[in-house]
């Protein structure tokens, strides 16, 4: 079980980091590397998207290898994170639309919030069962 877990975790980490790397290339490449060459940009976005799909598959494999308690912990954390992401995301967007905030609501802020929220909730949930 441990060996399989380590293998799945390594694969997930590899796909996640390569997704981040291809996202950075697709974001900054057109401006700083290939001077807005349309074909190269399409290629970079396609590679990033495919990489993202493979990362999701690796995550599913990792999740399915967890035992029943770990799955319960992750499921509860995911449910709370999803709820928070919808509520906070829409409130954040509403603040922007109604001009209650002076800056534009950026999707990257929401992604960071989701990551932080999931990390904190997962830690709290894990401690509850230890």
């Amino acid at each position: 079980m441990k060996k399989e877990r380590r293998k799945n975790l390594t694969q997930l980490a590899a796909w996640t980091w390569s997704w981040v790397a291809t996202l950075a290339i697709a974001t900054f490449g057109p401006k700083f590397i290939w001077d807005d060459h349309i074909l190269l940009t399409v290629l970079a976005v396609t590679v990033n998207f495919t990489n993202g799909i493979l990362m999701i598959i690796a995550n599913r494999k990792f999740f399915n290898n967890l035992d029943e308690l770990e799955r319960k912990i992750h499921l509860e954390s995911l449910a709370l994170t999803l709820g928070l992401a919808v509520v906070v995301g829409l409130t954040y967007s509403l603040l922007d639309v109604t001009d209650l905030i002076t800056f534009d609501a950026e999707i990257s802020n929401l992604v960071m919030f989701i990551g932080l929220a999931y990390g904190i909730i997962l830690t709290v949930n894990t401690r509850r069962y230890s």
């Binding site: 079980m1 029943e68 308690l69 770990e70 319960k72 509850r128 069962y129 230890s130």
Partner: protein
């Protein structure tokens, strides 16, 4: 649900790590079951009963909350 897992484990000289390995779950799960914080699934309960050669009722006692 109450259980005798900790006692049975001690009687058989198993560590939580050993038991987790035999049952196919994590050490944290064994710890949570022993402390009564988590009720195992039926397949896990069957694996535990098979390991200790006891019936499920001899290990786990259901109690209404």
């Amino acid at each position: 649900m109450k259980n005798r897992l900790k006692v049975l484990r001690a009687e058989n000289n198993y560590t939580q790590e050993d038991l987790a390995e035999y049952i196919g779950v994590s050490r944290q799960t064994i710890n949570a079951i022993e402390k009564g914080k988590f009720d195992p699934s039926l397949p896990t309960a069957f694996r535990i009963s098979k390991l200790f050669k006891l019936s499920i009722e001899d290990i786990f006692q259901f109690e209404e909350n």
